[in-house]
């Protein structure tokens, strides 16, 4: 094993990439572009739900309460939540509002709503959903079902003479956060998982294509005929590619924390370490899989094979603990699952290397990287036979 030869190999790879300005620029620009887009999408305010209301409620004038109809007050409360753009329409307009997209949902308060309520019976309110997008349906029902009881609670009539309706029957919560905080948004939860995803994705492409090119242009053959041992070749490549992998993970980490202002509580050094370990695994997986591809098109077809299952199962969007058992087992085999978990522990909870879960995840990533190195060396050896 010669350190000088390994360094010569790593140095050549670095020099090659320095020459390849376009690839270098893409390595920086593409993740920044994609992360910026994601940030914009995650942070966008969802538009108000267009809610049309048919209010047929005719309340009796009450000397005691002097309050207007219950329905009107619920409508006002819904408007006050800021989630709904409320339009009052007549019953005959319901069809046209839904058909023309002027309403996402229509609420119909029946005629005796207040009257029945005063008698202690609550009449059902009809909700007609536009219904073509299940996601929207769920959102509307969810928003209404949180807003509705709240609106109703604030009107619960006192048995005694207390007319202060606003504070009666409601309860106050003093919300505190054990981890995170109210300034944490969706992006803060997803970013710790997007960092390893993109790093893995880009480094995998970079190494598999570069290594394939090395084979197809014949230089690998020349290197294999040289005094370089298989292990030296592998270490040289790993070192050279890891240099850029490290650079790219540094850029992604700094961009997400610095520019996108993602909140993180942990040590940025630990964040970087986790990312780097994952990239070493990605480098070697790239080298390993590229030996099974005959051309660049085939390498491209490996990309979804490698990245999509990891994107779906690693807890990036759906939590691993919520998955069916079979999928959880599968997720347990994917390195990104551990990188995501560790990064969330570090970035959201502010834990460090001394946290058992983080330490375990890092160990798993180390084992994965070592396994990939062994696999890569074995395939190089096979090539020479």
């Amino acid at each position: 094993m010669s350190g000088r030869r390994i360094l010569a190999l790593a140095g050549r790879i670095i020099l090659q990439f320095r020459r390849d300005r376009r690839t270098l620029a893409l390595m920086v620009v593409v993740p920044i572009l994609v992360l910026t887009l994601l940030a914009a999408l995650f942070r966008m305010e969802s538009p108000d739900i267009k809610l049309a209301v048919v209010n047929e409620d005719r309340a009796p004038e009450s000397a005691v309460l002097g309050s207007p109809a219950l329905a009107s007050r619920i409508i006002a409360a819904l408007e006050a939540t800021g989630d709904f753009a409320v339009t009052e329409i007549r019953n005959s307009q319901v069809d046209s509002y839904l058909a023309q997209g002027k309403a996402d949902a229509v609420l119909i308060f029946p005629e005796n709503y207040t009257r029945r309520d005063l008698l202690g019976r609550r009449e059902k309110v009809d909700l007609i959903l536009e219904g073509s997008n299940p996601g929207d349906n769920a959102k509307i029902v969810q928003k209404l079902s949180t807003a509705f009881p709240h609106a109703l609670l604030s009107f619960t009539r006192p048995v005694g003479g207390d007319l202060n309706l606003e504070n009666n029957g409601t309860f106050d919560l003093l919300v505190q956060y054990y981890y995170g905080g109210d300034q944490f948004d969706d992006l803060d939860y997803f970013a710790p998982a997007f960092i390893p995803f993109f790093v893995f994705f880009f480094i995998f492409i970079l190494t598999s294509v570069s290594f394939l090119r090395e084979r197809s242009q014949g230089t690998l053959e020349r290197i294999l005929a040289s005094p370089l041992s298989r292990a030296e070749i592998f270490l040289g490549y790993m070192l050279g590619f890891s240099f850029f992998a490290g650079l790219q993970s540094l850029i992604i980490v700094l961009f997400t924390t610095g520019v996108l202002q993602i909140h993180y509580n942990g040590n940025i050094g630990v964040i970087f370490l986790i990312t780097l370990l994952l990239t070493i695994g990605a480098v070697n997986l790239g080298i390993f899989l590229s030996t099974f591809a005959r051309n660049e098109l085939q390498v491209v077809q490996f990309i979804p094979l490698v990245t999509v299952p990891q994107g779906l199962l690693s807890g990036l969007i759906w939590a691993v603990k919520d998955m069916p058992e079979a999928l959880q087992l599968l997720a347990g085999l994917l390195p990104m699952t551990y990188a995501n978990e560790a990064l969330r522990e570090v970035m959201i909870k502010g834990l460090g290397l001394d946290a058992p879960l983080v330490a375990r995840d890092i160990m798993v990533l180390l084992v994965f990287a070592a396994l990939m190195v062994a696999l890569g060396v074995a395939t190089l050896r096979r090539q020479a036979s």
Partner: protein, 241 residues
């Protein structure tokens, strides 16, 4: 005539790729300091033989010895210069950077001066700092040859080094080969160009993975009564002699 120990020896060399037989029970001995030509059509087993001699392939059966070592043996890798059919250069790097890289992995002590000497030898000094992808095909070939020579190998294995290059450059290459022979370098060269065969000290005629015949061009012609090596080859192929 004295018989120095052969620098290359093969006995019963057979290589199969799946069901395809690339080499069939091949025996070969090459004396040092010569240019030995492996002559045969495409698919006759030339590249397979060279790759076994370089140590990139294991024979299915039989044995090959190079510089007295049974191949593959990494310990003699630094004594072999290998030029593949493809240019096998890093396209983004300059000629000088390519040479320097190979000098470094072969641990060439006088790295820089050796690189300069080679640039001179293959007449690429003026284009030394051009990226390889900007060079003409002939220049790439010359650069590739220089890379194979960078560590002063006593044995050169060249797989069709002159394929697709113009006659002028081919003549220059052969001048290099001659002067290398004079320095004691043994050159194994594969070719399917018959007029090149005339320039080799000895020839091995390969067909279908078998060594049909062996000898100097003059001997081969005499044995078949042919006027040219090409004719001799065809007669051996037809089983005439």
């Amino acid at each position: 005539m004295s018989h120095p120990a052969p620098i290359i020896e093969a006995r019963g060399l057979t290589k199969r790729f799946g069901g395809i037989v690339a080499l069939q029970d091949l025996n070969l001995a090459v004396a040092p300091g010569l240019t030995y030509g492996l002559l045969g059509p495409n698919g006759s087993g030339k590249t397979t033989l060279i790759r076994i001699l370089v140590g990139l392939l294991f024979p299915t059966s039989g044995r090959a010895w190079v510089l007295g070592r049974a191949m593959p043996d990494r310990s003699i890798a630094s004594q072999i210069g290998y030029m593949t059919q493809a240019e096998a250069l890093y396209q983004e790097l300059t000629v000088r950077e390519n040479l320097t890289f190979f000098a470094r992995i072969y641990g060439v002590a006088e790295g820089c001066s050796r690189v300069e000497a080679l640039l001179e030898l293959v007449d690429l000094r003026e284009r030394a700092d051009s990226p390889v992808h900007t060079l003409s095909g002939g220049m790439k070939r010359r650069a590739s040859l220089a890379c194979a020579l960078v560590h002063h190998p006593p044995l050169l294995l060249l797989d069709e080094p002159t394929v697709g290059i113009d006659p002028q450059l081919r003549a220059i290459f052969w001048e290099h080969f001659r002067s290398l022979n004079q320095e004691g370098v043994t050159i194994i060269i594969s070719t399917h160009v018959m007029d090149e065969a005339e320039r080799c000290h000895r020839l091995g005629l390969l067909l279908g993975g078998r060594l049909l015949a062996e000898g100097s061009a003059a001997e081969l012609k005499a044995r078949t009564g042919a006027a040219t090596v090409e004719e001799a080859f065809l007669r051996f192929e037809g089983g005439t002699p």
